[in-house]
């Protein structure tokens, strides 16, 4: 029993990162109607950016977020101007198709670039502090707990940004109805740019936390894209807090199935959830 509980705790901890990874994908998909399948590769890049920031500048691993997130925002601006800004000129159905092509191409290119620059080795950031706290007989790794709390804080911040900031409201309006947003005087292209940059910034933050608590390598991209996609379908569009909870649900469900049926089934449960939610509740648990 306590082994199961321990597994579930670890599942919850990684679930927070699933939620953070999915938030960026969800924001971009919800606002631009563009499915960025290279989102996982952006997470991978964030992981490397954090790794090198820590290795070269000697920063505390968590403090490296202050470097990685701004860099990711800039990368997002660049990718929007260079690639995705052209996609959003098409109507919404065409956007999905074109964004898949561009996303897969971008993902492959980034993967190859990462292998070339940093080899295919796994890297993870070693924290100067470590250990676990013990709570009710359960051992909770401090670094992963901190990552979960940071992920939660970032999601909370994003929620406030979208609820209160002038352009946050504009982004939500654009997500609901871009033509109506134009008619209220919102520069929809700028709302797209901001949403894409924020989505990429979130990917950078997720990558940093992944390489701190777990590890990064050039090939983690697809896996993280899939996890994020499952969470987006699970949670539905429109609520960042809902997306975060969806990530926790996936993390716990994976841990439970791994404990019940053995490790190899960990990956299956997400896909089962994906199908079940699509059949039973297509707009997701928290979708609007």
């Amino acid at each position: 029993m306590s082994i199961l509980a321990q597994q579930l705790v670890l599942g919850l901890l990684i679930g927070g990162l699933y939620g953070l990874a999915a938030a960026g994908l969800s924001l971009v998909f919800g606002v631009l109607k563009v499915l960025n399948v290279a989102h996982g590769e952006l997470i991978m890049l964030g992981g490397y950016a954090a790794f090198w920031t820590v290795a070269l500048l000697g920063l505390d691993p968590f403090v490296s977020l202050l470097v990685v997130v701004p860099l990711s925002l800039l990368l997002g601006v660049g990718l929007y101007w260079g690639l995705f800004g052209f996609v959003v000129r098409a109507d919404e159905e065409t956007r999905i198709k074109n964004s898949l092509l561009i996303g897969f191409g971008l993902g492959l290119a980034l993967h190859a670039l990462a292998v070339l620059l940093w080899t295919a080795d796994e890297r993870s950031i070693v924290t100067p502090y470590g250990g676990s706290i013990t709570l009710a007989g359960l051992s909770i790794p401090i670094v992963r707990l901190a990552s979960l709390l940071i992920a939660l804080a970032l999601i909370g911040g994003l929620h406030l940004l979208l609820a209160r900031w002038r352009w946050g409201k504009a982004i939500r309006a654009t997500a609901e109805d871009w033509q109506a947003a134009l008619l209220t005087g919102i520069d929809v292209r700028r709302a797209y740019l901001l949403a894409f940059a924020i989505g990429t910034g979130l990917a950078g933050a997720a990558g940093t936390l992944v390489s701190i608590g777990y590890s990064t390598s050039p090939s983690i991209g697809l896996e993280w894209t899939l996890k994020a996609l499952i969470v987006v379908v699970l949670a539905g569009l429109g609520s960042m807090l809902g997306t975060f909870v969806g990530g926790l649900v996936l993390g716990v469900a994976e841990a439970a199935s791994a404990a019940a049926f053995g490790g190899p089934y960990r990956e299956v449960v997400g896909l089962v959830l994906f199908v079940v939610v699509l059949v039973v509740r297509p707009r997701g648990l928290f979708g609007r």
């Binding site: 409201k169 033509q179 109506a180 008619l183 005087g185």
Partner: protein, 239 residues
């Protein structure tokens, strides 16, 4: 104020408007009548910048709108209440109105805008914290008009504001348009409810199959046999 000359518009290969010429003067209320599919919505969407015309010119206070993005047309003082209202249903009444004041021209007048909208539609003030999708159709139409007013327009265009709304609320919305107009805002109104539209407007155009088929003072059109037969029904003709 608004001058449209020889406007052609199309969706793909389907031509919707041919050679439309019309104008709206400062302080005027002008109605645009016509059957379904005549191209009325296409005309409004072209003026608002949601659709690029094929040919012809749209000028607003002397400036050619053809090259402007839709959000910049709002900034020039031209607002559209679109067909079907197109509100942000997941947001509150207050948030919808606030978004109306997003354009730079509207930001300094935001407080006055709220006062004006809540003055016109006291119901909305009571419901300012409610989600728009929980409101009735008539209340939603008030939010739509209010959101457009928040942009601080000099010309307000409305696409069938009476559609799907109880008759009592139609009268109330028409009365609010008259009041908005008295404050100096020109109104360009597309309406299926011809009686209500001609009761309000100074002038009107009739659009049929993408062409202007007639135009005149509202009072004259109300007496015009063709208009009566086509838009006011057989009872009106016999009368």
């Amino acid at each position: 104020m608004l001058e449209i000359r020889d406007l052609d518009a199309a969706y793909g290969d389907i031509r919707v408007l041919s050679g439309v010429t019309l104008s709206v003067g400062p302080g005027e209320i002008v109605a645009l009548l016509g059957p379904n599919g005549a191209g009325k919505t296409t005309l409004l969407n072209s003026i608002a910048g949601l659709l690029r015309p094929r040919a012809g010119a749209i000028r607003f206070e002397g400036e050619d709108l053809g090259a402007l993005h839709a959000h910049l047309i709002v900034e020039r003082g031209l607002a559209l209440v679109p067909e079907g209202r197109r509100l942000f249903g997941g947001m509150t009444v207050g948030e919808n109105l606030e978004l109306g004041a997003f354009a730079p021209r509207a930001r300094p007048t935001k407080a006055a805008g709220f006062e004006r909208v809540y003055g016109l539609f006291p119901d909305l003030y009571q419901r300012r914290r409610q989600l728009v999708r929980s409101l009735s159709g008539g209340q939603q139409q008030m939010v739509a008009v209010g959101r457009a007013l928040m942009t601080n327009p000099r010309l307000l265009m409305l696409d069938e504001p009476s559609l799907g709304i109880a008759p009592r609320l139609v009268r109330s919305i028409m009365a609010s348009l008259a009041e908005i107009n008295r404050a100096g805002v020109a109104v360009f109104l597309v309406e299926q409810n011809v009686q209500a539209a001609l009761g309000l407007a100074h002038r009107a155009y009739v659009l049929e199959a993408g062409r202007i088929a007639g135009h005149g003072a509202a009072a004259d059109l109300l007496r015009d046999p063709h208009v009566r037969r086509a838009y006011l029904g057989p009872l009106a003709v016999r009368e």
